[in-house]
Amino acid sequence: MNFSCNDRISNNQLRAILVAGLLGNLAVSAPLGVIEKSGSAAYISIAIGGLAAAVLFYILIKLTSAGFVKSYEDMSTESLGRGISFVLFAVVLIHIVLYGGFQLSISARMVQETMEKGVGKNFASLIIVLVSAYMAQRGSECIGRIAEIAAVLMLIFIAFIFIVSAPSMDLTVLRTTPAESRGILKGAFDAFCSMSAAGFVFMLSPKTNNTKKSAMSVFSAIIIVTAVLSFGTALSVSCFGLKEAERKLWPVIQMMNYTEFPGSLVERQEVLMSGFYVFSSFILTGISVYLSSSLLGHMFKSVKKKWPFLLASCLAVYALQYCGKDAYGDFNLIYWLYRFNPVMYIIMIISPVAAIVRRKK
């Protein structure tokens, strides 16, 4: 069977990239901050925050999709001119590189902690970056196809874990106290920020074959991620109790090890889960490298070759792992970045809005 390779993705692939790329990474980084704010009600906060992000994405993409052309980069250059779009690309580039780099750092640290303590963090990062570079070099379609497989595998496994774990949930822990209820909205804002990966969404959406349907793809992807994160957080708080879930660096991942597999099929489930998480990390790093090298290509059109941009993106993403001193340092960096996510909504819709206005004129 011959597959087309035109660097375009289907809406299903867009959904798969967002689910596979965000699910694993947010499962590690999002619940911690939310549990701190809203305690046992963290699962409610995540549900509210995720729903808000999904609805906002849906509305914004519906309103702006009329301005979408071949790619975000072309759309920006055509509607804003080279000067303004250069500045815009620089901002988006920094955001995407930071996002990919910080998440890569957390992934590599988790590989070291849960899978093998003997493997160096920088070495694990290097392998992920090398494979991601290969994916990025092949284009968005390649990443989309891999994400389709990864998302299905991840969701089947997670659903199985949830079904096995759900009957033993301690619902008493999940009842919220008045103090926790007051923190629900604060936690929801944190969850909203962490799920608002607008840079990725608005750069990928114009690349779909049918841009009219991309709003629904993004909406369903964020809803899937929200549902899994919300239920996973409820499970881990229920399994470990609130204080321990707060203390644990990756409670959702470690919760997996507490789940007893039927027939003792798997001895250390959390390692298996970490494997899926690393899969997710490949997708996110791959898409970060791909998008950033593409942005660099448009910023410096005089350079005709592709590999210098790919190399620069890989180096930038890889170098960021040295920013965090330890796991808590990595988490602080990603939380700091999440705070800028809502601003990215505004930055990312400038180009499609300008394109619509330009066409009407």
Binding site: S40, K117, L126, Q137, R175, L242, E244, E260
Partner: protein, 346 residues
């Protein structure tokens, strides 16, 4: 591009699956015993399996004196072989480590923060030194497999329950007390029955076999256990099929009270043809027996002000107004507990 692919493959081969330590280079820790030692140190005894060329597995015990913060780091690198905690099945805490409030917190914190140690690890306490228990179970043929003991000896575990690390940490965080199942072992047998009561991390007393059985019903853990009633000098065993509790908090005469309704579904393991021909009478006997055990467990816990049932925490989540009114150090001790048992025979 082919060069890049080749490079990735080369790296994949360089990355050894076991982080530079193959199975032969590791000792697999199965049981860890912790006793108090001088100062802030602990005497840690490990029962571990050494994969060996000829005998395949050899169980040994090794002791080391260290603060808990350094337990795993220090032990991992001790000796030629790496100590691997990924297959740890049980942690035994010696009674002497429970005479100060800190050790229990430190042991649970150390174990739960080590990503190699599973949250499913069983926590046990011993009236003897933990090092003795670990040495005994390491010496006996089946001793290392405390975890399997739980799986394979359900009938012998009627008077004990499985306390996992996750559950112990959760209880230690949310309650003022915890009951740790008690283990005793010699070269021949492992015996897990009864429990050690810890209030605020300190040893307070112990639950005997009957009280532990009552505690199990109060914790809704009765499913799968066997309850035996005696009628006309004949024993009738019943398998507990379901154990669900309902707790209602209320004020009564200016005192905090709680109704604990224990609902049990039981199934007779033997056919019976006694004079008592009514099932209700049999059920009544079972109800009485379970109620006595549950009441004696609750009385013992209240006498030590050990809220191992987590009633204070449940009240905080269910009725914060009532909790705020009665929240004080001896809330559980002064609580009026009314225990009612209903048995349904299958």
């Amino acid at each position: 591009m082919r060069k890049i692919i080749a490079l990735v493959f080369v790296f994949a081969f360089v990355l050894s699956g076991c982080g530079g330590n193959e199975i032969e280079g590791r000792n697999f820790v199965s049981v860890m015993g912790i006793d108090d030692a001088e100062g802030e140190n602990y005497n840690v005894t490990l029962g571990f399996i050494t994969p060996d060329g000829e005998d395949m597995y050899t169980a040994q015990a090794k002791s080391i004196e260290t603060p808990t913060a350094a337990v795993t780091d220090k032990l991992i690198s001790s000796g030629k072989r790496q100590m691997y905690f990924g297959h740890l099945k049980a942690i035994v805490v010696g009674k002497d480590a429970l005479y100060r409030p800190e050790p229990l917190n430190e042991i649970l914190s150390m174990s739960s923060s080590d990503s190699d140690i599973s949250m499913d690890t069983i926590i046990l306490a011993s009236e003897r030194k933990a090092s003795d228990i670990v040495s005994s179970v390491s010496g006996s043929g089946d001793g290392l497999y405390v975890w399997d003991f739980y799986k394979n000896n359900k009938n012998r575990l009627y008077s004990s329950q499985k306390l996992t690390l996750a559950e112990a940490v959760k209880q230690n965080d949310t309650q003022n007390g915890i009951v740790i199942p008690m283990i005793d072992a010699d070269d021949e047998n492992i015996d897990i029955q009864g429990g050690i009561i810890c209030t605020g991390g300190l040893y307070s007393g112990k639950l005997d076999t009957g009280e532990m059985q009552g505690f199990i019903y109060l914790c809704e853990d009765g499913k799968g256990k066997t309850e035996v009633i005696s009628v006309n000098s004949k024993n009738i065993p019943f398998e507990i099929k379901r154990n669900v509790n309902e707790i209602k908090f209320f004020e009564n005469g200016g005192k905090l009270s709680a109704d604990i309704d224990i609902s049990v579904k039981a199934h007779s393991l033997n056919e019976y043809d006694f004079d008592i021909d009514s099932e209700n009478d049999i059920a009544g006997l079972l109800e009485g027996q379970i109620e006595r055990k549950a009441e004696s467990a609750a009385d013992k816990l209240q006498s030590f002000n050990c809220d191992a049932l987590g009633l204070g925490y449940s009240l905080m989540r269910e009725d914060s107004g009532l909790y705020d009114k009665y929240s004080q150090a001896d809330m559980f001790k002064n609580m009026d507990l009314n225990i009612n048992v209903s048995v349904f025979l299958e």
